[in-house]
């Protein structure tokens, strides 16, 4: 491979916000910034996406909360978080000072909660984008709402009306038609779509006859789901005009490139961070190497380049 023959540009712009690289952390896999900051230089992250924040504190599910599966993992964390007020007091000040883009991911039990969360965060400085987690499969009713295009459209519209912060709508793959969900969000004011969240799954201990997760079912993530995620992003990118952020099983720069090729403008790295705390930075560096190898100067030039 020839050494740096071209100058590569990894910056991208989504909803008018510029990002240093298209590689972000994924919600729930990099905490709220504190822990990850010791392991990777925030300047080299495209964005830091926080763990989902809810209106009220949530204790989360009992242990065990995770299982390693073939090529992936299940999690049933149960959206443990301290609630929006503690988030604003304890976490946001530090996040705001981090030299990277900050995406705050919010989750509610109903549309009204999303609206309240968005309103509350609108009063605060230093939030570059909001990401609406409409897709967490671990909480009762979460699935049904997030896989109904009508509900997704309504929720997006209401949140849109409540805040001026750009909105990403994060979609569930537990549906027969993710493109319709994306269209509903785009038609009601979303600035970008992110996909996918985890697939509903389950594991059983055949010796004890017990589920391996205290919550019985959980969300499947990691390399095992990359094919599902790629198909989802491919379909969404052909269904909407707003940017798509690809998520699911990204472990390397070439994985990220594949998401860009099928139409994503940016990607989020989740499970990989558990293996390597600086995974998102590694992925960005490998993406740069890949661009060098293929003599692609601007990362945007990869987007949607898939040849059928």
């Amino acid at each position: 491979m020839p050494k740096s023959t071209i100058k590569t540009d990894l910056t991208i712009t989504i909803a008018g916000v510029e990002f240093a690289t298209p590689v972000w952390t994924a919600s729930g896999t990099a905490g709220v910034g504190e822990e990850i900051e010791s392991w990777c230089d925030p300047k080299r992250l495209g964005a830091m996406v926080t763990k989902s924040v809810s209106l009220q504190p949530r204790p989360g599910h009992p242990y065990p909360r995770t299982v390693e599966t073939t090529g992936g993992m299940l999690n049933a964390i149960g959206l443990q978080n301290k609630g929006i007020e503690a988030f604003i007091t304890d976490e946001l000040p530090r996040l705001r000072r981090m030299p990277t883009r900050v995406v705050v991911n919010i989750v509610g039990d109903d549309q009204d909660e999303y609206v309240q969360l968005a309103k509350r965060l609108s009063d605060e400085a230093g939030i570059d984008l909001l990401e609406l987690n409409l897709s967490c499969p671990n909480v009762a009713r979460g699935i049904d709402q997030g896989s109904d295009p009508m509900w997704v459209g309504e929720c997006t519209a209401k949140v849109r009306a409540a805040t001026r912060i750009p909105l990403i709508v994060k979609l569930t793959p537990n549906t027969n038609d993710i493109a319709s969900l994306a269209r509903a969000a785009a038609d009601h004011g979303a600035d970008a779509i992110s996909a996918i969240n985890t697939l509903v799954g389950m594991a059983v201990n055949h010796n004890t006859f017990k589920p391996r997760l205290a919550n019985v079912t959980g969300g499947l993530s990691g390399p095992a789901i990359k094919p599902v995620a790629l198909a989802a992003v491919y379909k969404i990118a052909r269904a909407v005009k707003i940017p798509v952020i690809g998520i699911g099983g990204i472990m390397s720069g070439t994985d990220a490139a594949e998401f860009l090729l099928v139409g994503a403008q940016a990607v989020q790295v989740g499970t990989a961070t558990f293996r390597h705390p600086d995974a998102a930075i590694r992925v960005a560096e490998e993406l740069r190497d890949y661009m060098q190898e293929h003599q692609i100067a601007r990362v945007g030039d990869l987007v949607g380049r898939l040849t059928l």
């Binding site: 990850i36 010791s38 204790p59 065990p64 909360r65 443990q80 499970t271 558990f274 390597h276 705390p277």
Partner: protein
């Protein structure tokens, strides 16, 4: 008991496998060369190792011994599943991706207290390092009472002798479920018997425990009843090991007494027994 914020950036390190010794049935002691981990680790902390390229997750191991001069650290484990299986198969010289030292440490204690280290099975690993710290005076003054180490195992055949400790300076006692080595019963039964016999004075003792969870729960109850301060090192399946996944939780109480989930990897692995709801 929060770990102090690390000075400077943390990063993954490359630990080179130096040697593998079988020290019990399916039980291995492995030595790795990695100067920073060797120098920085304090008793109770763990390393998070990537046993091979095909595994998604790392596996956590308590640091069992360190040699800061040689720049090596040791771990002690039983070959159980995929992770330990892969580690066990690595030849000397293999470079292993390691995070560490992670987590907090056992807290040094008041000088006039007798430290009682209560180990169930391989829970002995971090306590051995703590014993060494106590004896070398890092955590304790020379004139303090002699530390006691209670080692519990199912059977004599499974009992691993703590590596490189002198029984002159350390009072080591054994317990086995079947009485094949030392006291017949669990280590918690042994401690209980010692209290009854007056060998241990509750007001002048500090307990440190590590081992299977039912044993720790029993130890916590005993210490609470006897009002002996007690620190426990816990184990959980750990996807990340550095606090971001919220997978490794244990139910407990926060400082105001509210129920909450602690992260074992970052809020622990060492906890005040009173803060855990078993």
């Amino acid at each position: 008991m929060k770990q102090p914020a690390p000075a400077g950036k943390l990063r993954a390190r490359t630990a080179t496998l130096v040697s593998t010794r079988q020290v019990g049935p399916n039980i291995l002691q492995q030595r790795f060369a990695e100067p920073v981990i060797a120098r920085r680790t304090q008793a109770g902390q763990f390393v998070h190792l990537l046993p091979g390229p095909d595994l998604l997750f790392r596996r956590a191991f308590s640091v069992y011994a360190t040699d800061p001069k040689q720049g090596t650290f040791d771990i002690l484990y039983q070959v159980l599943g995929k992770g330990t299986g892969a580690l066990a198969r690595q030849p000397a010289g293999t470079a292993i991706d390691a995070l560490g030292p992670l987590g907090n440490r056992f807290t040094p204690l008041p000088a006039d207290c007798t430290p009682i280290l209560v180990a169930g099975g391989l829970g002995m690993a971090p306590l051995r390092l703590f014993a060494e710290e106590l004896l070398s005076g890092t955590s304790r003054r020379q004139e303090s009472p002699r530390p006691i180490m209670l080692l519990g195992n199912r059977r004599k055949s499974q009992a691993v002798v703590p590596f490189g400790l002198s029984s002159k300076t350390l009072d080591v006692r054994w317990a086995t479920d079947d009485g094949s080595r030392g006291f017949r019963g669990t280590v918690v039964d042994l401690l209980s018997a010692m209290i009854v016999a007056g060998d241990v004075t509750p007001g002048k003792a500090h307990v440190y425990g590590c081992g299977p969870e039912p044993m720790l729960a029993a130890l916590a109850v005993l210490c609470a009843n006897q009002r002996i301060p007690c620190e426990l090192s816990l184990e959980r399946s750990m996807p990340c090991g550095f606090g971001v996944c919220m997978g490794c939780v244990v139910r407990g109480r926060d400082t105001s007494g509210y129920e909450t989930y602690h992260r074992v990897c970052r809020d622990g692995p060492v906890f005040n027994a009173a803060s855990i709801a078993f």
